[in-house]
Symmetry: C2
Subunit: 344 residues, 2 copies
């Protein structure tokens, strides 16, 4: 649909604009990228590209700026020609550091994810976001109940992935530590290896099935388990808001408010990442492509971490649509793979 030269011009404009956020003029293109033709020719091409919706002008006598569609074309091309590998040595260095860091914290998944956000935002100067695995994808390892005051017990839930969830529950004051142990033993022997979500459903079913031969133990187990996992704290890690403010894209106040608002209630981001979490490979959402209104003029680059085929959380970068996609994609891909690797 686009001939060779037009594509090159589009690429030139996008790259130049990503490089520094100033509208790109025809003269500039001919000078910087040696096409064998004059500015006038480039002007014609750019006019065509604008007509096709890849470029736009901030005002009539300014250079061109990519539209979301322009970025989309750029990103798609990038991925076709597998050119997304940035050769940036600084990045390589940080990547090595991250891999080394993983060595020490691999058995605590939460810390690992926290470090991942930090590394992402640090490297990219965009906002790093990580969403830990959903309950339906974490495997129950064992649960323990520790009584520490009459009527109060601490529930500790371990998953195979190294997640610890804890919650303090109010219970029948009569329950002794032995009772608690028996309940925990029951749950541990019966349900080990299943996902947290599965277990919940199974327990609910067993309620209706065994209604007749009701067992006090099971009844208690169900209650306690439900309370224990109810603490579904929206744990999602975000970092880098401060650094993102130093980007020229956020030099006016309303844009800062916008992005702060977007990450304020993590709820929204959660919704977005959940949609992504089933997809394969690195996902890129550019500006208006974004399903969440609050992110309509920001871009998201995300990837799912996997253990074998099970999605184990999503990592992402959020930044302006004028994003260094090549770098961002490479970064997100790399870190997602680093994390996936530790699961094996």
């Amino acid at each position: 649909m686009l001939n060779e030269r037009s594509r090159h011009v589009l690429f030139a404009v996008v790259q130049s604009y990503i490089n520094s956020p100033e509208p790109v003029g025809s003269r500039f293109v001919t000078k910087k990228y040696s096409f064998g033709c004059s500015p006038a020719t480039i002007r014609n091409i750019m006019a065509d590209l604008e007509e096709l919706g890849f470029l736009k002008q901030p005002h009539i006598s300014a250079g061109r700026v990519p539209t979301d569609k322009g970025y989309r074309f750029y990103v798609d091309s990038l991925r076709n020609i597998e050119e997304a590998k940035s050769q940036d040595e600084v990045f390589e260095e940080i990547k090595r550091r991250f891999a080394r860091k993983l060595e020490n914290i691999r058995n605590n998944i939460n810390i690992m994810f926290m470090e991942a956000t930090a590394t992402l935002s640090e490297m990219s100067n965009y906002i790093g976001v990580v969403m830990p695995p959903k309950p339906e994808n974490t495997t129950f390892n064992r649960i323990d109940f520790i009584r520490y005051r009459p009527g109060t017990v601490a529930a500790i839930l371990l998953t195979d992935e190294g997640v610890i969830k804890n919650n303090i529950l109010s219970v029948d004051a009569m329950l002794s530590q032995e009772d608690l142990n028996r309940i925990a033993d029951y749950l541990n022997s019966e349900y080990s290896g299943r996902t947290i979500e599965e277990i919940k459903n199974m327990l609910l079913k067993s309620i209706s099935r065994e209604k007749a031969v009701w067992d006090k133990l099971i009844e208690r187990a169900i209650k306690l388990y439900e309370q224990a996992i109810s603490f579904t704290e929206e744990d999602i890690f975000v970092s880098g808001l401060y650094d993102v403010m130093n980007l020229p894209d956020f030099s006016n106040i309303s844009r800062i408010r916008e992005i702060s608002r977007a990450i304020k209630d993590k709820h929204m981001i959660l919704k977005l990442l959940e949609q992504i979490s089933d997809a394969e490979g690195v996902q890129v959402l550019i500006g208006s492509e974004n399903p969440v209104d609050e992110l309509k003029n920001l871009s998201v680059v995300a990837s799912t971490c996997k253990e074998k085929d099970r999605p184990m959380g999503v990592i992402a970068v959020i930044g302006p649509t004028r994003m260094d996609y090549s770098k961002a994609i490479y970064m997100v891909d790399t870190i997602a793979k680093c994390i996936s690797r530790t699961f094996d």
Copy 2:
């Protein structure tokens, strides 16, 4: 040092400026606050107040604005005349809501503190900050070690205050669950009721004392305990950055950067709150009074939560020096007392 009328004028200026951030002129003062005199007289008084350092002019032909010293005088007077009780019904409502919320979450101190920050920032539109109790003030209740993979155990530390700390440790693969139980039993029987910090020191001492008759059990206990508490995650809760951006004080970008920077690495705030944590009652630090450079033109209103006489964390509000001190003080005081009460 200041006569009656001067004080009133100063009050008028401060209150008017807090109310809306525009320099206050002499004519405005006579109109709004019925002093029995003309603008010219007020002008003279204001000139005096400026000379004394309570007021300043943004530029020569503008009204006056309070200096840090002016705010200080205002705050001190407020507290003398015990007028800090805001009668704001909205606030009363939220306060009731917070008290009710506390009922349900009182046994989980972390959630309680999280809710406290949320409530603080929501009510004040400033930034809410809460620092949980320091290790030297939390009482060891019990520790448990749960083996869940060869060479890996989860350590669960409970405190009397309802804090759960957990950490995943790498250990000698040979340790069985029985070994772990024995170690936990030892720690639990020996050290229950002491503070976490104390125990650490005692363990260290016992190393040097019992060097000769070295006990494998104690050696292991020490190692595990240290690892378990090493996870001193800087847990400090901050919330309200987005809302604070809507204050007129932060309508220019560099001020937003400033405040974001201040709360970016929580380290700094931690340092500040630690200094406060010994003090009695509500502390107010105004602008330059602040020991931390990054907060030099912000104000902090803080109070320590107590269980009997033991400091159990600090709650605070951070905002512009043009802060509604009366409201902020009342708020912080109230919430600190709410929390303190739940400890009994």
